[in-house]
Amino acid sequence: MTLSTTTQLELHRMMMLIRLFEEALEEMFSRGLLHGTMHLSIGQEATAAGACLALQKDDLITSTHRGHGHCLAKGAEPYKMFAELLGREDGYCRGRGGSMHIADLSNGNLGANGIVAGSLTISVGAALSFQMQKKDNIILCFFGDGAVNEGSFHEALNLASLWSLPVLFLCENNQYGMSMATDKAVAGDSIASRGNSYGIESIQIDGNDVEGVYENVLNFKNKILSSGGPKFIEAVTYRYRGHSKSDRNLYRTSDEIEYWKEEKDPIKRYIGKLIESGISEDQLKDIDTDIKDLIRKSVKQALDSPLSPITNLEEDSYA
């Protein structure tokens, strides 16, 4: 598959947006502007960007505690995300969700989830809606390598397979669930082979190759729509930052982190490829500048916007 330049630049732009968005968050955190912790996906941008850009707006996703990238890639506005993390009225969840729980229904993001594997069974239910409503859509369910050892992973995959539901399970294997190395946590051959054991077609791909992610998601999406039934992708990637803000990184070496940063960084690799294929450095620099501008403005706008008012929270608990 050869991608159009527009698509390529879109993939690049989205990875940059995610990276710079999260770097801005880091900075805000260190300035004490944020309450609570957060989970950064810096280093993993290719998976979110590649996967979501292969979807239509009315395809759905479910996301995880490490969900900023998914949310942005599915179309969210940085301003409303910053506002959410800052507890502002304009935040996607009016300051009730925060970093770990952003939903953006307007763009087909059914929500990030603070519970590991919490969104797998939800995605199965959403897929059932698509099936019952005979819609030509899929739901893409993001989850981490740590989630595959939860009971709900098992129940969700089994049912999705039995009922031929239009769900694409996408495991972001960043090789650790918090401090736990994937191969100490997942028995059997690989995460992808676990997908296969439910009779679900499954592949393992390089999660840091943004075009590869894009193409594989597109391909599986089309297969799901034409022949029904779930598919499974294990995207191998790596997180540079600690699990959350309190991580001291004792469970891995700095050499390992450096290796991934230097040799495998999805953005760096893609820039190389784009330039090779004839895109000019200036074009890329323009994109950069645009994004930095957008981020700067969004942060400022969010900081200037009013806090979410203290309503009657007991009433807000019910629809």
Partner: protein
Amino acid sequence: MPDMTTGQALNNALSLILEQNPTAFIAGEDIGIYGGAFGVTEGLLAQFGEERIKDTPISEDVIAGLAVGASMTGGKPIVEMQFSDFIVNAMDPIVNQAAKLHFMYGGSVNVPIIVRGASGAGTGAAAQHSQSLESWFCHVPGLKVVTPSNPQNAYDLLLHSFTDPNPIIFMEHKLIYKIKDYVELNDIPKESSMLGKANIVSEGKDITIVSYSNMVNISKEAIVAKELQDYSIELIDLQTVSPIDYDTIKTSLKKTKKLLVCQEAPSNSSVGTTVISKIVESELFNELEIAPKLISGLHSPMPSAKHLELNVIPQVEDITNAVKSML
């Protein structure tokens, strides 16, 4: 329309819901050809087909989880926990997801699901198949908890639950399934106005008994029996235990000045202690003439042997004795 059992009444309500709402469906274990372990879904498979009557594997977590996902995307799921004890396997989708998503996502989604389950003891099914776990769900903001006691209110409460935009835990005590009575087959209501409304089963002025689920029937037995014939007893069926209709309770207590609460569940952290606590925290404290009393199941797992089981669950005579001691 002849008399029908609570099981049949629920069946009728489900049938009506499915007929009038194309996005409604039922999922659960053995709810298809088997008709449900207690027969509540009997005949629905034949009537509505496999698309809408969905037999699942034994996987309570995904049963509840799929309901959450389906409800967020336009579906109207009603799922069954074969025995409500198995809801322990579905606590994440119910408590961490269904109950919270509306609030957590800033009001941008609703999760209108019904999780039905057979609760309670009395059939010799022992510790793991006899619990009354409704109190847990009352502790969880975002959920409503509904506890019918007879064919008519089971029918109506299920329709109202379906109309409500919130996640509902619907606990059907096993011993009410076979109770038979005349049932008015009302239409699906426009609003879930019945949720949060107690029912005054019998009026009286000497003492107020607050109860719910099958213990309402045991209480009724006690107050119509000869021994209590001379007393004027007001019996209130809460019908929903979250939210609780304190207005009705308070109005009654202003008259009777005496409060007895009866439930099958053990007392600690329960509906019964909640009712008593809220009442004495209120202005009613000064109106109560004597200490309120809670009759509850023992703080013990349910034993299998009949004579031991009877010892754990409150019986008619426990209520009789309590009323007498309070009057």
